[in-house]
Amino acid sequence: MSWWDDALHRATAEVILAGCLAGLVGVHVVLRRLSFLTMALTHATFPGVVAASIIGVNILLGGIVAGGVVALGVAALSRRRGQDASAATGVLLSAGFALGAALVATQSGFSRDLSSFLVGSILTVGPQDLLTTAVVLVVVAAVLLVSARPLQLIGFDRAGAEAAGVPVGRWDIVLLLTLEVVVVTMVPAVGTILAVSLIVAPAAAARLWSGRVVPMTVLSVVFAVGSGLAGLWISSRWNVAAGASISLVATAILAVSWPATRIRPRPARPATT
């Protein structure tokens, strides 16, 4: 019996991999204020995954297609005058979720599937899922490394980047698609709620500790992996849902960082808030 045969060991490995993924992409989500879009993407993968499992094609493919539709749909809808990105995101979010729910309802075994989608079933990840997550992690890390400079430039000074001749629209799509792939990879294993909180909370906490991108990324990954491991331990110890306890630990890190960074002197920051 190898080390991988134990469900808890596999879950530990998955949590570490997912934490790295979430921490890396979370920095961009926080800097670019894409939390709501992330939320919408997690909901939008739902009908894609359900439809894929009904038709019988790869679940990951279904999620990617549905997520792509939403990412491009938000981009297209928010260009209309009088419609802003927030409303368009909201419409697509509820549409995606309702569609997914309607599709699930036509199948039997309704509520079981649904709750595993919401909170994930991290204890049932197989070697196949682990391999997928690892491959995605390598690809995402490579993409973010290559595009680090332009993304950073756009994140902090959009107009300046445009004036300097950076193709802003194209890099936006690169970032959206990266985010989407991360979400699609994470949701089946860890659930929608956990995916959002693992992406946003550690990065937001890291942002409080550092204003520079590299330390922030490192901290964000450390926080994400740490809260994953701690949450898993709490879950196995007290027999509560794993996804929920992981996201509560991530929130606790943010809640502790808030007053902690306030005490620390911050000479670099002007006193105007």
């Binding site: 209309r80 005058r81 419409v91 729910a101």
Partner: protein
């Protein structure tokens, strides 16, 4: 066309939707203008732990109400603080509160069915008592909105001007968040979270395609919700009865609303003309 609604449970479901339409039309216009889509999505999720605790204590309604008010205050404080960007703060509060609910529910045996009924509500098993509760809250929401409408409008379109004119922007934001929270409490148990989010966001977004005037948007939004409620219920009834497809009524109503939104996009383009830029 009317025949299904002669059955008591269908009539009650329609009555509930009509009541919600009356409040969601006006409130969704504010949600749209203030870009509070994410906040309303968050409020629907954060009511969940309140519902769970309330259910255990036997005071479901009170639990939801307390959770909603706590979240509305917390959201207003966090977004006014400015240390964490407001969308990140909203996302974290949402997931944290929802996780508390999930932790509480996961200790119970009827875990999955509880979650499902919270998400989708039980539109077809709405009781007269729930309709009465919704009606009371609807009156409260409409009165609160009527009192604050002028100040809220001022704050929406000119925050700096409102502050200069002596309005307390923080309290106005709290006022609006509380109104949205009350709508969520009124609706969530009967119709479930997805339908509430849709009712708070889509009516105004769709009405905006037809008109720029707020009063027209309010009326259009309300009419849209009533129409979508009727069509959705009818579609779900027909599909389940005559075609053997289990179409949940809440999803059907949402999908009709989204369809209306999509159909209205060309209207918007025709009305303004594609050549006109921002």
């Amino acid at each position: 066309m009317i025949e299904p609604f002669t059955l008591p449970f269908m009539a009650r479901a329609l009555a509930e939707i009509v009541l919600l339409a009356l409040i969601c039309g006006p409130v969704s216009v504010f949600v749209f203008a203030r870009r509070l889509s994410f906040t309303s999505d968050a409020l629907t999720h954060t009511v969940f732990p309140g519902v769970v605790i309330g259910f255990m204590a036997g005071q479901l309604f009170a639990g939801a109400l307390v959770a909603a008010i706590v979240t509305a205050v917390a959201l207003t404080l966090l977004t006014a603080g400015g240390r964490v960007s407001d969308d990140a703060a909203t996302a974290v509060l949402l997931t944290a509160m929802f996780s508390i609910g999930v932790v509480l529910v996961s200790r119970r045996s009827s875990y999955t069915s509880d979650l499902t009924s919270f998400l989708f509500g039980r539109l077809l098993t709405v009781t007269p008592r729930q309709i009465a509760e919704t009606a009371v809250l609807a009156v409260v929401v409409l009165i609160a909105l009527a009192i604050g409408a002028r100040a809220l409008l001022f704050r929406t379109f000119d925050p700096a001007g409102a502050q200069a004119a002596g309005y307390r922007v923080f309290w106005l934001d709290l006022w609006l968040n509380l109104i949205v929270a009350l709508v969520v409490v009124a609706a969530v148990r009967a119709v479930g979270t997805i339908l509430v989010v849709a009712l708070l966001i889509i009516p105004a977004a769709a009405a905006r395609m037809v008109s720029d005037r707020l009063a027209v948007m309010v009326v259009t939004g309300t009419v849209l919700v009533v129409a979508a409620g009727y069509t959705g219920l009818l579609a779900s009834w027909t599909a389940s009865l005559h075609y053997g497809v289990a179409l949940t009524s809440a999803s059907a109503v949402v999908l009709v609303l989204v369809a209306v939104y999509l159909v209205l996009i060309p209207v918007r383009i025709l009305r303004t003309g594609p050549a006109r830029r921002t």
